[in-house]
Assembly symmetry: C2
Homo-oligomer: 200 residues x 2
């Protein structure tokens, strides 16, 4: 089987959420798996002098419109959260804890976290919400809540984020296909074409 696609995102990234709803389908059509890699976008933005889109004048208004429009075009439920952006450390750490202890639950947890934030308007910055999401995918929520406070899991997320920046990731979503980088939900069509053709 050819190598999996690497899918980097921050849980607070609305374009990351939109991409998350399509990436597995795209990969599957071409016999590929997807490695989901949550990361902290803040340090990556600091490395490029960027800022979250919706915080910028003009761009913020446009981004709100573009997100809603793209979600409609793709048939994906979407509502910009009331509190935004949110701190997603707890969710990202919980993902890596699951990956280590119950790997089959990690992606379902990530999908549930995205849905909680961008469909149900629940704040995934709230550890109580993260606990509910863990329970929802059949994980031991108490053990998870404890684990994400440990130095080991904190270091794991930091290492994943550093590795992503080292690889050139500076935004969310960010996809690698056999080493070829694609930034943005609007590059998914190119990702699919690349998978079809092996490069162009």
């Amino acid at each position: 089987m050819p190598a999996a696609i690497d899918f980097y995102f921050d849980f607070s990234s609305p374009y990351g959420y939109l991409a998350s709803r399509r990436i597995d389908g795209i990969a599957k059509r071409h016999g590929r798996g997807v490695r989901w890699r949550p990361m902290m976008l803040g340090p990556a933005l600091a490395a490029t002098g960027g800022k979250p889109l919706v915080e910028l004048p003009l761009k913020g208004d446009y981004a709100r419109r573009d997100l809603a429009r793209t979600a409609r075009l793709w048939g994906i439920p979407f509502a910009l959260p009331t509190r935004f952006p949110v701190v997603t450390l707890a969710a990202a750490r919980a993902f890596y804890w699951l990956e280590q202890t119950a790997p089959e639950r990690a992606v379902p947890f990530a999908e549930a976290a995205f849905t909680a934030l961008f469909v149900e308007d629940r704040s995934i910055a709230d550890r109580q919400v993260v606990r509910q999401l863990l329970a929802g995918v059949g994980a031991d929520a108490e053990a998870g809540a404890l684990a994400i406070g440990t130095p080991e899991i904190k270091a794991r997320l930091k290492a994943e984020t550093d590795a992503a920046i080292e690889r050139g990731v500076f935004g969310s979503p960010f996809v690698f296909v056999d080493g070829e980088p694609f930034w943005g939900a609007d590059r998914l069509d190119q990702v699919e074409r690349w998978l079809e053709t092996g490069g162009f």
Copy 2:
């Protein structure tokens, strides 16, 4: 005939160039014309805290790769200029002078200016090059070279840029279809869908 599409761009914008090669075809397929609106992106970026993509670390390397890749995918000749970004005041002023005095030559001039910069690696910041481009579309190059130094033409470009910012333009290319804004060459597929469906 339905209203023309508004196509805003800076002559130094590589994604603006890529879009310029497709926008007329897209519009024509749906019975529309295109109003080409060169502007100065600098003031618009200042309004949003943005910077030219290729000046940013990480993003710059990625942008170079993405531009070349997108040009290959779309079958458009492209080479990032040796000197970049370039000051495009003279070219933008020449466009508006043509629009006032020989409107049928304005878009051919804009196409020639984009080709000079992004295919032939000629610096359109050089007034001698602008003069050659004017002559190339059959305009009076001497009259044009004089005109672009006048307060009237300088004020015209400034007014067009101010009007663009007022309308919410903060990047290049930027397209309006019946008031609906689309930012980026990667939104041309949405532009086409919008024209087909009247909105989604």
